[in-house]
Symmetry: C2
Amino acid sequence: MVETVVILAGGEGSRLRPFTKDTPKALIRVAGRELLYRIIKQLGELGVKRFVIVINEKFKGNIENFLKEHKFHAEIICNPHPEKENGYSLYLAKERVKGRFGVVMSDHIYEKEFLEKALKGNGLIVDKVGLYIDRDEATKVKCRDGRIDDIGKGLKEYEGFDTGFFILEDSIFSVAEKILKEKEVLTMSELVKSAGLPCTEVSGYFWMDIDTPEDIEKAKKLLVKTAIKGAGDGFISRNLNRKVSTRISPYLVDKFTPNQITVFTSLLGMLSAVIAFFSPALGGILLQISSMLDGLDGEIARAQMRTTKFGAWLDSVLDRYVDFAFLSALAFYIKPSWAFMPWVFLALFGTIMVSYSTERYKGAYCEDAYAVIRELRYLLGKRDERIFLIMIFTLFGWIKALFILLAIITNIRVILTIYLVWKKKGNE
Amino acid sequence: MVETVVILAGGEGSRLRPFTKDTPKALIRVAGRELLYRIIKQLGELGVKRFVIVINEKFKGNIENFLKEHKFHAEIICNPHPEKENGYSLYLAKERVKGRFGVVMSDHIYEKEFLEKALKGNGLIVDKVGLYIDRDEATKVKCRDGRIDDIGKGLKEYEGFDTGFFILEDSIFSVAEKILKEKEVLTMSELVKSAGLPCTEVSGYFWMDIDTPEDIEKAKKLLVKTAIKGAGDGFISRNLNRKVSTRISPYLVDKFTPNQITVFTSLLGMLSAVIAFFSPALGGILLQISSMLDGLDGEIARAQMRTTKFGAWLDSVLDRYVDFAFLSALAFYIKPSWAFMPWVFLALFGTIMVSYSTERYKGAYCEDAYAVIRELRYLLGKRDERIFLIMIFTLFGWIKALFILLAIITNIRVILTIYLVWKKKGNE
């Protein structure tokens, strides 16, 4: 693993005007976070200890303020000749790095898993698939015997795409020096080609470079989409709720914090309970809408790199309020006889206990119940499924049947959870 | 920290007959666990990597079977001359240990915190208080300038007591060799006195040696009592429930597993709910009894060194069943009008949510809410307090008032929990 990464942040972002009028390209915000914030934060979390940032001299004040605001520690090198291109920018870091080090373009966005693999690579990191990029605009790479043979936008034959991420040795500086004796301008492409760098494949992950306002919009959508990976969603969530929320998130991600969204969707849920007291069908529809929006806070938090444990905790607690309030409202709407009340009580109890049993599991074992006890994923009764059932049954006016169904589904789920936890973790 | 500990387990335990008829003293069970199990398990958890056990040859089979059963890795040295005493036993380990190492008597029981400190000590570990031991019977120690000046049972002037735990250097073996050239018998006391070992004070923790059947009984009681330290109990628990449960635990600790007790007290709680359906007052008394016994499983688990995360999880989930069942039974007993039902629903909801909010906290932050947010300890509404209120109010027949009171107390507690967590951990 490399300890030092050089960030090439000299770009002016001329194609990104007016965003880049008073600010360098590296400080453009995508989904509420500066490009430079994203790369420093992510690499820091992956163990990179030291950052050297090469910038355009005229933005020194902006970059320094940014680093101070976020308490990032980084060394700044000013490039007085940005017209000499990014290979020259790297050359300016010559005295600051020894041995192996990483180099990354500040105008690229990467998924965490990409960076994790790239940091273990060697030479130029090549993506052979390029799932998320504009392939016509991308820099292509041709490798031979594991080393760069040719590189450029216009290559006809190529194996993959230049990801803008490099793991280099300090010998690269003598190659750069040699070229710069003959030429004024030096691009990274020319430099790595001359050095005959090895290629390392890291394919299929989300990464892209930000050159135009359209790229920013595209990145927002992709950040939201890749944020829901492995969220352990239920059937309705995967096939309905997430399809809605991931389409809405990109429009909110610049404007709201995750906690604001959490409170808003919870208030919408509480409102649906109030309405259910007068009209169960209307309340049920509103509850399903709030459930479709329930994923927004998490998606936005991940895209904004603003996930907090508090957010997840608050979301869970408020969800229980909404669940309980809605079912209580339905009970008040039908005011059943005491002979029927056991179903109401069991539905209320089971609904909270589905969450209690799995959350209490996390409290005991400090690990996600769904990750360890995979059977829990396929058991009916998760919140997205319950709410969808509530909507359907209230639409048809089958409220008593709904209580009976929920009482059965949720309590069976809790009892099976006890059984499964005992079977798998009874001795721990 | 020492990596190797020599356990002196040569004792026959003649004063412990008939317990020691076919078994060495080290394998005597106290609170359901062999003395040797306790010390190996505890020291292993504190980072000791290697154990050398010196035993009486005639019990080799017993010890080997014991080690195999528990998958303990330890080297066995047989002492063919147990009559030469424990200093000679230690001398037999000469070829097996280098540098610094620990020595401990297998017939001593120690609290974890004692061992933690003792392992960082030097020379003889001395307890200047001796809170839990029989001071007349104990070996006394007199120190001068930080080193042992005299040691023995009959000392008139002394600073503290020999805890049976030592941190030694391998130079001790040449001291032993010198003495053994002149004498046949060598006790640890004589050895450490001749060597002029340093004294390290570790005072006030629970430890004792087991010599007689009375010691076993005493140890059981003390193991249960010291097990409840820092359990974060509520007011009623501290002042009533624990006083009952810690008096009962010693009688059950040899006979039942913690999970058996958990299931039994939960069944008692469920029975109280069934009875409350016919007689709230009787049910309330039984519920309070089950609450007084609710601490048994944890006390026994800790005393038996059998705490499991599963046990804690199951206990929590079953408690919610009892709470919900009892309040539901009370609701069915009074069958209030729908105008009163909001109080019933709020009491049911708040009762589960008090636990949900703090347990979900542990799920999010992987730490105990009561340890971090200390205000939660002083907020009314914990389970022991709720159940005590239930008993009082059902005795007087004030069931409606009980619902109103519980609805208010529990929901205020949950809202304050949200506020306190937000205030303290909102940014994490």
